[in-house]
C-alpha cells in the first residue's frame, strides 16, 4: 500500500466514524419527540410489578412464570396472578405494536414461540 | 648422443598463428641441433609417441616449443635429458597478434633462447654426503613437545633442549584452557601431562632439561651442536633444528598508566592464571574476595609505543578467565574493556558462550588509565566507547591482558657486539666506536639462543616486530637459516592448538631439510634444485658482498675473507651471482654467461625499422608465472618485449643490463616481487637489493648520457596478471616517447 493510498483509507475510516452522528442528527430533526415511546396501559389497571422494574425484568419474569406454572405445576404463588397467564398482559396492554414490538424492534429482539416453548 | 632435439607443437593456434616452417628452419640452423620436428598436437597420444621416440634417441637436450609447463605437463620420466620448455603459446601466440611479423620475430627469439639454454646448461652434480637423521628441538613448551612427537613419530631421533627444570613452558602455568573442539563452549583441562608422558616414553627422544644451546655450527644435515647442560657440556650432531623458544609476557611495568605497580590489585593475565588455579580470587592488597574483576584488553598491544601487533590469544585468555572466575564465584562480575574482542575462527563460538553469561560485561573502549584511590580502590577510566567518552568503572581487581613477546635473540645486535669485540681484540682504527658499541650492547651479551657459528650472526634474523622473519603465510616455519625452523609463539603469537600444529609443521620441515640435504637438493622455494653455486676463487677480491648479501647465511668466510660455501644451506636464489662484481659465481644452468648470451641472442632491428626492443627480466616466482597467466587469459601486450626469467630480482647482475644497453635494447624492465617491510620476495632480500643496485645502474645510465627512465622496476604479484600487460605497454610507450637507444648501431 502506498503512502497516499494509506492516507486515503484512513480518511475514509474517519468519515465512517462521523456518519452515526450525522444519522442521529437527521433522526432528531425528523422529530419523534413529545410522543411517548411506549403506549401506556389501559387506564385504571394495576401492573403486577412496578413499571420500571417490569421494564428490566419482564424477560426473566415471564420465563420464571413459565417454569413455575408449566414445569412445576405451581399455580399458587402470588395470589391468582398465575391464573391470568401471559395473555393477561394483553388485557392491560392491548396495543402490541406500540407496547412490545416498538421496543423489541429497536433493540433487535426477535421473539418467536420457541423462545419460550422449548425443551 | 644425438644433439638437441627440437619439437614444435602446432596445436592451440600455434600452427595457424606462426609460420612453423620459418621456426623449423631457424631451429635447424642453430648450433648443436639434431632433429627438428613439427607435431600437430604434442599433448595428444600421437604427440606423446613422438616425444617418446625422440627421447629414445637420447638427445643431449630437448627443446619443446609449445605451451607453458605450468599448465600442461608433457614429458615423463622417460625423458632423462635436460628439457627446455619454450612457452610459445602463452608468451607469443595468445598474447600477441596472430600472423604478424613482430609476433613471428618474438617466437623466433624465444625459441632461440631455449636452444641457447639447452646448449649452454651443464649437467649439475648433486652434493651428496652423509647426514645425521636427528632433529634438535630448542624449547620444551607446547610447540617443542609437538615438534618432538611429530619427528619421533616419523622415525627420527629427537633431542629436546629445555632451559627450565621441567618440560611444559607456559603450559605448565596454565591449568585450564579455552575450548579446542566443538562446540567450543567449555573450558578444558590442560593436556600437558599426557603430552609429556607420551614424549618421555618414546625411545627416540632424548630430553635435556635445564640445558641451553651453547653453539651450533655446520649446515643442514650436518649440524654440530654443543649444549650447556647442568652437568657440563654435551656435544651432538643434528640434521635439522626446530626453534620453539616461545614467548615472554610483555613487561607490565612499562605500562604505568594502567596502575601496574601502583596497586597490588592490578595484575596481569599471567598472574591471574596462578590466582585462579589456587582457588577463589582475592584482592592481593587485603585478601577480600574480588567481586568485580575488570579485564583491560590490549594492555600495551596494538600500540605503536609498545607492541604494535595483536597477540591473538589474550582475548580468549580473558574469556576463559572471566568464565573461570564466574564459575568459582557465581556472584562475581567480570568487565571486559577491549578495543575489539578478537577470538578468531571457530573460537567466535567461545566468545558467544561468554556473552551468554549476563554477568560478563563487555564494552568497546580505550582504557585511558587505571586510577588507584587513596583507600586502594580501583577504577578504570574508559574513553571512546558507547558507554561514553569519559566514564570510570569501579573494580576490585584489574587484570591487564598483556601481549606476547617472542623469545628470540636479536641477531643483528649480537653480531654487532661480537664484531665490535673482534675489532677491539684486533686493534687498529675504530677502537673508540667499538668500545661504545660494546658499552651499548653488553647487556645483550648472554641472550643468544642458538649460538650459530655463521658469518651473518649467531641467531635468526628478526622482522620489524622481533619475530624470526619469513613469509609467515606463504612459507610458514621458514626462517632465513635453512634447516632451522620456528614453531609456536616465537614464530607468531599462537595459542596451544596453533603451537601444536606449528610444532608438527616445523618438525616435518626439519625432516625435509635432512632428507634434501642427504640428496644434495635445495629447499624452498627452488625445491629439488640440484646444483649449488660454484666460485671461481682465483679471481675473488674478498669484497664480501656475496657473504653479506646472501639472505640465508649460506656463505661463511675463511681467515682471508674468501667465501666458503655450505651447500645445504643454499637455496639457489642466485643473489650472490647478482651481487658479485667480479662475476665469479655461477650455477651450471644459470650463470652470467648464459644470461648474457640470451641477452645478446636477440637480433636488434636497426634504428630505421621503428621496432624497439625491450628486455624484461622477470622473477620466476611471481612475475613470470603472471606473464604466462596473462597469455593464458589472452591479455595482449607489446610484441617488442623479450622476457628472460630470472631466479630472483636479486640475482640480476648489472652487467646484463649494461650488456643490453650496449647491445641496443631501448629499455630494460625488471619485474619482481614487492620489497619493503612486508616484502613478498621469496628470498626475502632480492627486491630490496635490486632496488639499491638499480639506483647505481641509473647513475651509470646518466653518466652515459642515457635517460635513466630506460630502466624501470615494476613489482608484480601473481594475481596481477590482468594488469601486467598494461603496465608493460605503458613502459614500452614511455620508451617510444623517449626515443630509440642511440647506441643501436655502435
Amino acid at each position: 500500500m502506498t503512502n497516499g493510498n494509506y492516507r486515503r483509507v484512513v480518511m475514509v475510516g474517519l468519515v465512517v466514524m462521523g456518519l452515526p452522528v450525522l444519522f442521529s442528527l437527521v433522526d432528531y430533526a425528523r422529530g419523534a419527540e413529545g410522543e411517548p415511546f411506549l403506549a401506556p396501559a389501559k387506564p385504571d389497571t394495576a401492573c403486577i410489578l412496578e413499571s420500571a422494574a417490569m421494564r428490566y425484568t419482564h424477560m426473566t419474569f415471564l420465563k420464571d412464570l413459565r417454569d413455575r406454572v408449566v414445569r412445576e405445576e405451581n399455580r399458587s404463588a402470588e395470589g391468582d396472578l398465575d391464573a391470568r397467564g401471559m395473555n393477561s398482559c394483553r388485557g392491560c396492554h392491548p396495543d402490541r405494536a406500540a407496547f412490545c414490538d416498538r421496543c423489541h424492534d429497536r433493540a433487535s429482539v426477535r421473539l418467536d414461540c420457541f423462545d419460550c416453548h422449548k425443551y | 648422443m644425438s644433439g638437441i632435439a627440437v619439437l614444435l607443437c602446432e596445436g592451440c593456434e600455434l600452427g595457424s598463428a606462426l609460420d612453423m616452417g620459418a621456426l623449423t628452419r631457424l631451429a635447424s640452423g642453430q648450433q648443436g641441433v639434431g632433429t627438428v620436428k613439427s607435431v600437430p598436437c604434442l599433448c595428444s597420444e600421437a604427440g606423446a609417441d613422438v616425444l617418446r621416440e625422440c627421447a629414445s634417441d637420447e638427445p643431449s637436450a630437448m627443446v619443446l616449443g609449445a605451451c607453458a609447463a605450468r599448465f600442461m605437463p608433457l614429458t615423463t620420466k622417460d625423458c632423462r635429458c635436460r628439457i627446455e620448455r619454450v612457452a610459445l603459446r602463452e608468451l607469443a601466440v595468445w598474447s600477441h597478434e596472430a600472423r604478424h611479423d613482430e609476433t613471428q620475430a618474438l617466437a623466433g627469439d624465444y625459441l632461440r633462447m631455449g636452444l641457447i639454454r639447452a646448449l649452454k646448461s651443464a649437467a649439475p652434480e648433486p652434493d651428496v654426503r652423509e647426514v645425521e637423521r636427528t632433529v634438535l628441538v630448542v624449547g620444551g613448551g607446547a610447540a617443542g613437545i609437538a615438534a618432538a612427537l611429530a619427528a619421533a613419530g616419523a622415525g627420527y631421533r629427537v633431542v629436546v633442549v629445555e632451559q627450565g627444570a621441567e618440560l611444559g613452558g607456559w603450559l605448565r602455568e596454565t591449568k585450564r584452557l579455552p575450548p579446542s573442539r566443538a562446540p567450543y563452549r567449555d573450558l578444558e583441562p590442560s593436556p600437558l601431562d599426557s603430552l609429556v608422558n607420551e614424549l618421555v616414553s618414546l625411545p627416540l627422544v632424548t630430553v635435556h632439561a635445564g640445558a641451553t644451546v651453547a653453539r651450533i655450527t655446520g649446515e643442514p644435515g650436518r649440524f654440530e651442536v654443543e649444549l650447556r647442560t647442568p652437568g657440563g657440556t654435551t656435544a651432538l650432531r643434528a640434521g635439522g633444528i626446530v626453534q620453539a623458544t616461545g614467548f615472554t609476557p610483555y613487561d607490565a611495568n612499562r605500562l604505568p598508566h594502567l596502575g601496574y605497580g601502583d596497586s597490588p590489585d592490578v595484575v596481569t593475565t599471567f598472574e591471574l592464571e596462578r590466582m585462579l588455579a589456587a582457588g577463589p580470587v582475592c584482592r592481593p592488597s587485603n585478601g577480600q574476595p574480588a567481586r568485580r574483576i575488570a579485564f583491560v584488553q590490549c594492555a600495551g598491544s596494538r600500540d605503536p609505543a609498545h607492541l604494535p601487533y595483536c597477540s591473538t590469544v589474550c582475548c580468549r585468555t580473558t574469556l576463559k578467565q572471566a568464565l573461570w572466575a564466574r564459575e568459582i564465584d557465581p556472584d562475581c562480575e567480570a568487565y571486559v574493556v577491549a578495543k575489539d574482542l578478537r577470538s578468531p575462527g571457530v573460537h567466535e563460538a567461545f566468545y558467544r558462550r561468554a556473552q551468554e553469561d549476563p554477568l560478563v560485561f563487555f564494552t568497546k573502549g580505550e582504557v585511558r588509565r587505571v586510577k588507584v584511590g587513596k583507600s586502594g580502590s580501583l577504577s578504570v577510566e574508559i574513553t571512546g566507547g558507547l558507554l561514553g567518552d569519559d566514564v570510570e568503572l569501579p573494580a576490585d581487581l584489574v587484570v591487564l591482558a598483556v601481549g606476547m613477546v617472542p623469545r628470540a635473540s636479536n641477531n643483528d645486535a649480537l653480531r654487532e657486539l661480537s664484531d665490535a669485540r673482534a675489532a677491539l681484540a684486533k686493534g687498529g682504527p675504530g677502537q673508540a666506536a667499538a668500545e661504545e658499541t660494546i658499552r651499548r650492547l653488553e647487556v645483550l651479551a648472554d641472550t643468544g639462543t642458538l649460538g650459530l657459528g655463521y658469518r651473518q650472526g649467531p641467531d635468526l634474523p628478526l622482522d620489524r616486530y622481533g619475530f624470526p622473519d619469513s613469509h609467515f603465510i606463504c612459507f610458514p616455519y621458514e626462517t632465513r637459516r635453512t634447516g632451522i625452523y620456528t614453531a609456536g609463539a616465537v614464530r607468531a603469537p599462537n595459542d596451544l592448538e596453533a603451537c601444536c600444529i606449528d610444532g608438527q609443521g616445523a618438525a616435518l620441515k626439519a625432516i625435509q631439510a635432512i632428507e634434501h640435504a642427504a640428496e644434495g637438493l635445495a629447499m624452498h622455494p627452488r625445491w629439488g634444485d640440484v646444483a649449488p653455486p660454484t666460485f671461481n676463487l682465483q679471481r675473488c677480491t674478498q669484497c664480501k658482498r656475496c657473504t653479506e648479501e646472501c639472505p640465508f647465511g649460506t656463505l661463511d668466510e675463511d681467515e682471508r675473507c674468501t667465501p666458503k660455501l655450505n651447500s645445504t644451506r643454499c637455496r639457489r636464489c642466485g643473489i650472490c651471482l647478482g651481487a658479485c662484481p667480479e662475476r665469479i659465481i655461477s650455477f651450471p644452468d644459470y650463470s652470467i654467461d648464459i644470461v648474457s648470451t640470451l641477452v645478446k641472442s636477440v637480433p636488434i632491428p636497426d634504428e630505421f625499422e621503428e621496432s624497439p626492443r625491450i628486455l624484461v627480466f622477470a622473477c620466476e616466482n611471481d612475475a613470470y608465472p603472471a606473464l604466462e597467466m596473462a597469455g593464458l587469459h589472452r591479455h595482449t601486450y607489446s610484441a617488442y618485449v623479450r622476457v628472460i626469467p630470472v631466479r630472483c630480482l636479486g640475482s640480476v647482475n648489472v652487467i646484463w643490463i649494461a650488456d643490453a644497453m650496449a647491445m641496443g635494447y631501448d629499455g630494460v624492465l625488471l619485474l619482481g616481487c614487492k620489497p619493503g617491510d612486508d616484502t613478498q620476495c621469496h628470498f626475502m632480500r632480492g627486491s630490496d637489493l635490486m632496488a639499491t643496485r638499480s639506483e647505481n645502474v641509473k647513475q651509470k645510465l646518466t653518466q652515459l648520457a642515457l635517460e635513466d627512465e630506460r630502466v624501470r622496476i615494476e613489482y608484480v604479484a601473481i594475481t596481477d596478471f590482468s594488469t601486467l600487460g598494461g603496465r608493460i605497454d605503458a613502459f614500452v610507450e614511455r620508451i617510444q616517447e623517449i626515443g630509440l637507444n642511440p647506441f643501436k648501431d655502435v
Binding site: 452515526p20 442528527l25 419523534a32 419527540e33 428490566y56 | 563487555f362 574508559i382 569519559d390
Partner: protein
C-alpha cells in the same frame, strides 16, 4: 565524510557551548552495572542481547534512527550493562516501531527489535506506580492475579450495589428514556461508574509516568540540545499527532511492511469503539435521544459502527499475530540461520507483545460472542460470555498503564519531545535532502519510503 559509528557517543554529548567555554573537565561518570535490571531484560525479550558485539549493523539498517545518535546499538550496550538511568531517559526506545529490520540483519541473532521492546516495557514499569502492579503486568503469573482481581472487582461491585439498596431503575436511569441493561446484575450506571473509576486510575498512572519521563528526557537529552530553540508547542503537537494519524513511521519498515495496515486497523477500530462508547455512556444525558437509548438495534448506525470497528480490531490483531508467527519462515527461509542453538531464536514476539494482542482480541471476541448469543437468544450462555467480556475489559483497563498498551501515551510523548526539539528521523532527513545526501550517506540497504 561518513561519521564513524564510534563517534556516536561523542555526538550525543556534544555541547553547543563547547567552543565558547572549554572550562574544566567534568568528572568521569561512574558506570555500575545493575544485574537486577539485566535479569529483568533477559526475561522480557532480551534473552539473546548478550550476543551483541556492537557491530552497528542494526543502527545502519534502521530507517527511523536519527543520524547523529543512532539506535539501537547504544541501547544494546546499555541493556547488557543494565544502565537503567540511561535507558529510562532515552527517547529513542519509543521512536523504534519494532519493525525488526535490525533483528533480521543482526549477524549475532541478538534480536535488537525484541530488546527495544523489553526496554520500552522496562521504561513503562519504571515510571508507573504501584510497582507491584507494574511487575504483575509484566509477567504471565501476574496476569492470573490481575484477571482474578478484575473478576473479584466486578463481583464486588455487583454485590455491593445490591447491598446498597439502589434499584436497577435508579442505576439505569428513567423518565422517558428507556435503557435496558444486558444483565440486570450490572446495570449501566454501575458499569459506567466502575469503568470511569478505572479509567481515571489509568489516566493518573499514565499521567504521572509521562510527567516523570518528560522530566527525565529534558534533564538528559536537553543538556546537549541539538537545536538551539525548540519548536512551538502547537506545531510540535500537530507534527506528533500527524505521525500517529498517518502511521508514517511504520512506512519505512522493510520486513514487516503489512504491519502499518494491521496496526492502523487496531488503532482506528479502537477509536471507533471509543466513539460508540462515548455515545452510549452519555446516552441518558444526550438531548438528541429519546425512547429506548439502549440496547442498540443491529441496524442502528452506532451499532453498525461498533460492529465494523470490532471487526477491524480483530482483523488487525489477527494480521499482526500471523505476521509475527511467520517471521521465522519469512526472514530465515528454510530455517537457514547460523549460530548456536537457542541463540538465534526467531523473533516471534515477547510476552508483552502477545499480552496486548491477546487482551484486545479477547475483549472484542467475547463482545462478539455475547452479541451473537444475545441475538440467538441463548440465554444460558450469554451471561457467561458477558461476564468474560466484562472481566477482560476490566483486565485490559487495569494493565493498560503497565503494559505495551501504555505506548499510546509514552510514544506520543516521545513524538512530541522529538518534534519539539528537532531530532530527526533518518528517513525524513534523507527524503528532504535527496539525492545529495544519498552520496554523502552510503547505506547498507537503500530503501525508499513506500
Amino acid at each position: 565524510m561518513v561519521p564513524s559509528v564510534g563517534d556516536e557517543t561523542t555526538m550525543v554529548k556534544r555541547s553547543p557551548h563547547r567552543d565558547s567555554a572549554p572550562a574544566k573537565k567534568p568528572r568521569p561518570k561512574r558506570v555500575v552495572p545493575d544485574r537486577e535490571v539485566v535479569r529483568r531484560l533477559l526475561g522480557s525479550g532480551g534473552d539473546a542481547m548478550g550476543q551483541c558485539m556492537q557491530c552497528a549493523t542494526c543502527s545502519a539498517v534502521c530507517e527511523l534512527t536519527p543520524d547523529d545518535a543512532p539506535f539501537p546499538r547504544k541501547e544494546m550496550l546499555w541493556a547488557q550493562w543494565g544502565l537503567v538511568d540511561r535507558l529510562v531517559s532515552d527517547v529513542d526506545i519509543w521512536l523504534c516501531h519494532e519493525c525488526h529490520d535490525c533483528t533480521v540483519r543482526c549477524p549475532r541473532g541478538a534480536r535488537p527489535g525484541d530488546v527495544m521492546a523489553a526496554l520500552r516495557q522496562a521504561c513503562v514499569s519504571h515510571y508507573s506506580f504501584p510497582q507491584g502492579l507494574a511487575r504483575a503486568a509484566a509477567a504471565p503469573a501476574g496476569l492470573v492475579w490481575i484477571v482474578l482481581a478484575s473478576a473479584a472487582l466486578l463481583a464486588a461491585a455487583s454485590i455491593g450495589w445490591d447491598a446498597t439498596g439502589v434499584t436497577v431503575a435508579e442505576l439505569t436511569g428513567g423518565g422517558t428514556r428507556i435503557a435496558i441493561p444486558f444483565w440486570t446484575r450490572f446495570p449501566h450506571g454501575l458499569l459506567i461508574a466502575l469503568f470511569l473509576t478505572v479509567f481515571a486510575f489509568d489516566v493518573a498512572v499514565l499521567g504521572l509516568g509521562m510527567r516523570r519521563y518528560w522530566r527525565a528526557l529534558s534533564a538528559t537529552a536537553l543538556s546537549a540540545p541539538t537545536r538551539a530553540t525548540p519548536n512551538a508547542w502547537g506545531q510540535s503537537l500537530r507534527a506528533a499527532l500527524g505521525r500517529i494519524v498517518w502511521h508514517d513511521d511504520f512506512a519505512s519498515c522493510q520486513h514487516e511492511a503489512r504491519r502499518r495496515f494491521g496496526h492502523g486497523l487496531v488503532v482506528y477500530g479502537t477509536v471507533g469503539l471509543m466513539v460508540v462508547d462515548l455515545w452510549v455512556v452519555t446516552a441518558r444525558q444526550n438531548p438528541l435521544l429519546s425512547g429506548l437509548v439502549y440496547p442498540l438495534g443491529l441496524a442502528d448506525p452506532w451499532k453498525l459502527l461498533a460492529n465494523l470497528a470490532g471487526v477491524a480490531l480483530v482483523m488487525g490483531c489477527v494480521m499482526m499475530g500471523i505476521e509475527r508467527l511467520r517471521r521465522r519462515e519469512r526472514w530465515f527461509p528454510g530455517g537457514k540461520w547460523s549460530g548456536l542453538e537457542g541463540v538465534r531464536r526467531a523473533p516471534s514476539g515477547t510476552y508483552g507483545d502477545w499480552l496486548l494482542l491477546g487482551l484486545i482480541s479477547t475483549v472484542v471476541l467475547t463482545g462478539f460472542v455475547t452479541e451473537g448469543l444475545h441475538l440467538f437468544r441463548v440465554d444460558e450462555l450469554r451471561y457467561a460470555a458477558y461476564a468474560a467480556h466484562l472481566v477482560s475489559v476490566t483486565t485490559l483497563f487495569v494493565v493498560l498503564p503497565y503494559s505495551k498498551l501504555a505506548h499510546l501515551a509514552y510514544r506520543t510523548l516521545a513524538f512530541l519531545f522529538v518534534e519539539r526539539y528537532g531530532l530527526r528521523r533518518r528517513a525524513a532527513v534523507r527524503a528532504e535532502t535527496a539525492p545529495a545526501a544519498s552520496c554523502a550517506q552510503p547505506k547498507l540497504s537503500p530503501q525508499e519510503v513506500p
